[in-house]
Amino acid sequence: MSRRTFLIESRTENLEPLRKDLAQALGGPGLSEKELYGILVSVVEACTNSIRHAYGNAPDGKIHITVDDRKDRVILKIRDYGKKIDLAKIPSPTLPPVNPGGLGIYFMKTFTDELKYNTRHARGTELTLVKYKNRSPNKEEP
């Protein structure tokens, strides 16, 4: 079991280096290349949401990403300290999408096995994503 924490500021140029660091941190056994890719997409989508919606593209917000790599699962926590995300306002996308946008949360739900938002903190939102290892291929629908 290993646990690593990353801290980025809410700037879009931090997304690619974060993805590369995460790929290195999660490169161990138990996840296929496609599953690892799905996890990376999910975390970057979550951070993109924090940058866009929680911090409204302000560049000085903090985002903590915790990677808990266990024998049977990977638990990822993405914590921001900006505006809370109201899940009720996020519609499910039509597929294939006719308009750009709206796929981020759908990807997170599809690529991971569990998704939970915690908005009970005094400030910001904590998103927990869980991906189980050594399981069947990704599900098609969330």
Binding site: T12, E13, L15, E16, R19, E33, K34, Y37, G38, L40, V41, V44, E45, T48, I51, R52, P93, L95, P96, P97, V98, N99, P100, G101, G102, L103, G104, Y106, F107, T110, F111, N138, E140
Partner: protein, 112 residues
């Protein structure tokens, strides 16, 4: 992201991309595509061989391109996608409306 644009003898615009296509890089690509749409480019092929990461922001750029090109009766095709990159198109079911080719030759057939 590096964006290289050239036109071949068949009047097809071929765009080679290199790098991640995410929320950071997609506005630049969108800007370049806008110029091609303004000039009503009839056929566009996009080479993703050197793109190892595409997320929803990247897909949104292609959905926008698809809608605008459809509006003036033009076609675009994507080719050389890695298995991982292809998976995001499949999950969004965009493989049912986009012309996704394995090779440049196949992409050329799709837009011709």
């Amino acid at each position: 992201m590096k964006i290289q644009i050239k036109k071949n003898e068949q009047n097809v615009t071929v765009i080679a991309l290199q790098g991640d296509l995410d929320f950071h890089s997609s506005p630049n690509l969108r800007k370049e595509l806008e110029k091609l749409i303004e000039s009503q480019a009839p056929k566009i092929m996009i080479d993703l061989a050197k793109v190892e990461y595409v997320d929803s922001s990247g897909l949104a750029t292609f959905v926008e391109l698809y809608q605008k090109m459809k509006h003036y009766g033009a076609k675009f095709s994507l080719f050389n996608l890695s298995e991982s990159v292809q998976s995001v198109f499949e999950i969004a079911k965009l493989n049912s409306i986009f012309l996704i080719a394995k090779t440049e030759e196949e992409a050329l057939r799709f837009v011709s």
